[in-house]
């Protein structure tokens, strides 16, 4: 594993190793240890072409807890707004000695482009590219599910996850489907037909148009944000109608299994895909997802950057 671009690049064992490493780091961070010296002298660049609160801060916190130097780069207020290309930005970062670049970009495939074109030698971590993938979000979601339903060990066999809402525009959903299936969970997508992507039959997941039919059987209720900024067409009649059919509310919460949990990748549209009572209920692990995000990203940074990089190994002649 040199980069983390897509969940499909990970084997099941590698995914579980990331989760196990994150579990150990989370345990240590809850105790006395707040900072590890492991990445001292490594530089991590957060390259964000799209807005983000939790992902950027989470990566920054993770890198700093491992003692890496962090450079934050937001497209707004940089030379990108003067028309600089991704290539020239990458060459600049390479010249500054970035060991890892965490990239969020509005175009699907931007992280692949950065990793595969040879513009820079560092590690590339995809922090969300267009409507394609957001692998670290899927890893932190799997981590959270495993912590609650599988006592923090092994894979996710026997867990049924419902992913509800705007599947069409959601990179979170795409990464989650790949990872959850890799880990043995059962996945059902629940959304109005207009928000289910074409070709979903190839994904080997269940599809349902009714949340009320499914809610009793789910162990995990994962609500997705309705991505208004990506909706150029009319996908549902009114927000009220959407909330009535697919919004999570206290009435539906009552029908959930005893141990079932409620998740949301954030940011939430309270009152649209999730009601305020549901978001703040004791079943909701939404705030914990954010905390777990730091541990999971520490694990990813450690596993990609903590050892010898590929270049250093190639120079020393040692095999991986």
């Amino acid at each position: 594993m040199k980069h983390l671009l897509s969940i499909s690049d990970l084997s099941k064992d590698e995914a579980i190793e990331i989760l196990d490493t994150a579990a150990e780091l989370a345990r240590l961070s809850e105790g006395a240890v707040k900072k590890f010296p492991t990445l001292r002298g490594r530089t991590v660049v957060n390259l964000f072409f799209e807005d983000s609160t939790r992902t950027r801060i989470s990566f920054e916190a993770a890198a700093k807890r491992l003692s890496a130097d962090v450079i934050n780069f937001a497209a707004k207020g940089s030379s990108v707004s003067k028309g600089e290309s991704l290539k020239d930005t990458a060459l600049t970062l390479q010249a500054m000695g970035a060991d890892a670049v965490v990239i969020r970009h509005g175009a699907s495939g931007a992280a692949h482009q950065l990793a595969r074109q040879g513009w820079m030698k560092g590690v590339v971590i995809n922090a969300g590219d267009g409507t394609h993938e957001h692998p670290t979000q899927a890893l932190l979601d799997a981590f959270t599910i495993r912590r609650h339903l599988k006592s923090n060990q092994g894979d996710l066999r026997g867990v049924k996850v419902g992913i509800i809402g705007d599947i069409l525009h959601s990179r979170v959903a795409r990464s989650n489907i790949l990872l959850l299936k890799k880990l043995g969970a059962e996945v059902v997508l629940i959304a109005p037909p207009t928000l289910i992507p074409v070709g979903v039959s190839d994904w080997q997941v269940g599809v349902s148009y009714s949340l009320d039919d499914q809610i009793k059987s789910l162990d995990v209720v994962m609500s997705l944000r309705v991505q208004k900024e990506r909706m150029n067409d009319l996908y549902f009649a009114t927000e009220r109608e959407y909330a009535r059919g697919y919004g999570l509310n206290s009435e539906r919460m009552r029908q959930m299994k005893d141990k079932a949990i409620v998740m949301h990748p954030g940011p939430m549209n309270r009152g649209l895909e999730i009601s305020a009572e549901s978001a703040d209920s004791h079943r909701s692990v939404i705030v914990e997802q954010v905390a777990n995000g730091v541990s999971v990203r520490m694990a990813v940074l450690y596993l990609l950057l903590g050892g010898a990089t590929f270049k250093e190994l190639a120079n020393s002649g040692e095999s991986l």
């Binding site: 190793e17 196990d20 490493t21 150990e24 780091l25 345990r27 240590l28 105790g31 006395a32 240890v33 900072k35 590890f36 010296p37 492991t38 450690y302 596993l303 990609l304 903590g306 050892g307 010898a308 250093e312 190994l313 020393s316 040692e318 991986l320």
Partner: protein
């Protein structure tokens, strides 16, 4: 390959070390045993149960993973983290005894001292090892040693423990007669 210690010799060495730890620390009251995974953790458990038996108390043993503190991280592919568990949750004010299987360059123990430094401030730190094979690269010494074995650098010393290996023994490999 030759066997340096067999099962009986290992358990007698551990028993002696347990007595020495108790003697030096005037009992087990303030002791905190921390084994360095993988095999140091099993040795630590055995010493803890020997001490518990001798002193008629319940002494727990913990583990201390030093992976994140190694100075050779950059030289190899990333390693999987191993568990750290501190009985009682804190090392502050304790007489910590670090336990490892083979004592060689001293770099593992240096990393362990760094890890302890992050966890708190123990009253003292001591070191117990089953095998001391020499070739120190740092000014670090052991307080309790099961057996000193002069070795050549090309040789490798392996400790096998019945918890994860077929049987208890210490072997040396690559020795030229």
């Amino acid at each position: 390959m030759s066997v340096i210690l067999n099962g009986g010799e290992i358990s007698r060495a551990l028993r002696r070390i347990s007595h020495e730890i108790l003697e030096k620390n005037h009992g087990s009251e303030n002791l905190l045993l921390l084994g360095i995974p993988t095999r140091g953790a099993y040795l630590s458990r055995r010493i803890a149960s020997a001490i518990s038996e001798i002193e008629k108390t319940e002494l727990e043993s913990g583990t201390l993973d030093i992976t994140m503190y190694r100075d050779d991280l950059r030289l190899k592919a990333p390693r999987t983290l191993l568990p750290t568990s501190i009985p009682g949750g804190s090392i502050d004010g304790k007489d910590v005894v670090l336990i490892d299987d083979v004592f060689y360059s001293g770099r593992t123990i240096r990393a362990a001292l760094d890890a302890l430094n992050e966890l708190g401030r123990p009253k003292s730190v001591q070191l117990a090892v089953l095998i001391d094979r020499g070739h120190r690269e740092l000014p670090i010494r052991a307080d309790f040693v099961g057996k000193n074995i002069p070795t050549a650098k090309e040789e490798s010393v392996r400790v096998h423990l019945s918890e994860i290996d077929p049987l208890d023994e210490v072997i040396i490999e690559g020795r030229t007669q």
